[in-house]
Symmetry: C2
Subunit: 320 residues, 2 copies
Amino acid sequence: MTASQNEFSLIERFFSNIGKSHFPVELSQGDDAAVVNVPVGKQLVMSVDTLISGVHFPELTSAADIAYKSLAVNLSDLAAMGAKPAWFLLSITLPKFDEVWLSEFSASLKKISRQYQIELIGGDTCRGPLSITIQVSGLVDHNNYVNRKGAQLGDLVLVTGELGNAALGLAHLQQRVALPTSLIKNCVEALNRPKPRLELTGFLTSYASAAIDLSDGLVGDLRHILNQSQKGATIRLDSLPVNDFIRSQQAYDYALTGGDDFELCFTMPSQHKYIIEDWNHKNPQCKLTHIGEITESDYELVGNHTTENLNNWQGYQHFE
Amino acid sequence: MTASQNEFSLIERFFSNIGKSHFPVELSQGDDAAVVNVPVGKQLVMSVDTLISGVHFPELTSAADIAYKSLAVNLSDLAAMGAKPAWFLLSITLPKFDEVWLSEFSASLKKISRQYQIELIGGDTCRGPLSITIQVSGLVDHNNYVNRKGAQLGDLVLVTGELGNAALGLAHLQQRVALPTSLIKNCVEALNRPKPRLELTGFLTSYASAAIDLSDGLVGDLRHILNQSQKGATIRLDSLPVNDFIRSQQAYDYALTGGDDFELCFTMPSQHKYIIEDWNHKNPQCKLTHIGEITESDYELVGNHTTENLNNWQGYQHFE
């Protein structure tokens, strides 16, 4: 065994006791595999996402932010399914053994995994270019998950939170935009610390006809719902929940195609419209905005003076 | 959307219809997450392994061999637990869109996943240095899995197949050894196409007291069983199942610390000894060899003239 392998075996101690699940773990880390119990009546919901340095987060991102975001984007997939988090596996590739970096990563991972009640049950550590792969498992009551194919004619299209902040945060860090000082903190936090919208789980499984999380931007992600549901949609520019900068600069592309917001977009029958105001009153931290409707087939963006066809759309800036 | 992103969306078609599970899949690829049903009375067994080009396989390895090995080493973890394969998730990072490479990778993944009856239910694709992360799920009857901590005093230590062939294959490819021509094919195949020993599942859950798969080499991997079981072991050099080259050259280090064999090492009560011959008669492709016994505390290798202490051992070559 070489010295570097010995170092790598030390890494294990940074990944013990991360999170605590509501659901039973029979055998955790330290064997060839973990063993867990899926309660009778539940279905298992599974997803995997890899985050690569320089691709999914800027290279200078802190270890704490990387740990947070790696788990958050996976939790966001569970949120879009209406699933409750249960367990996760972590495969981490590191260029070198860096105790300070690992301590920060571990502490941050511990914090978010406790917050969302998900437990680390196993993983793998390799030497190589920095990347993090997390596989999350969640649970839903039998057949009570939300997929992408249930949108019906006349359903409302809703989104959580504000759109475009993460893309603005990235543009600010890359010095591509002169962002008002008052917005910087909020936008950089939206990029590095996206909130998995798990508080919406009960709402979605009760009312939503289809849902998706916004990783690539509203226009492309909503298109997945439309394709799978074989429907169209009309989105109103004026209704988009965006900050003052995007509104005043007409910089809607951040919100429409920017990506990385990890807000949820979902559809629901219009008779449930009355619930939105009540939800927003009780959950100001996870505000819902009604941005459009499901239509027969066309996919359109209605602006003040024009209506744009969103099929094969190449981005808002090309039309202004 | 850039051209390269469009290319990457095409990748999805290479990963449809890969494998078929015995166990029900409710919702497969194409949503935020997959949904599966764990049958009542079963426990879920989960593992994840990342393979990085140049670390876990030589850079010139074919796409077909990479696909095979990526799944095989994960299946090997399920085999070591005595679990039946059910589903897997794939996260693949590729430097570029290469249709020929992807076709080969996909065809090979399809072949091995069908052979071992495991089904691809979701994944993620990124651009970056070539690496493959697979997360496998298997199932066991409730509490009928094999872990690392059950080895008892007097238990037999057994291994499957031959040890050291994968490390010899790598040494041959790296021109570090002059291997007899007759052994080359077998050793390179051991490196690139390790056999997950899933045929042993029923045997292990019936008779084994502890098990592990040999990824890092016998001495280190058996040590994991001993540490978790709080026992020692005696291994007999003469009993190790090795090829003629290793035996004649006394090149036992390939078998003891070489790694990458992905054979299984397990322990079982000595009263089951009579079963070994019967198993070997019926399963010549997965021969079991009795290589030693579990002892109170010392971890020793018994050679013809010497006995070496294997605690903190640095490899066979240092002692000859």
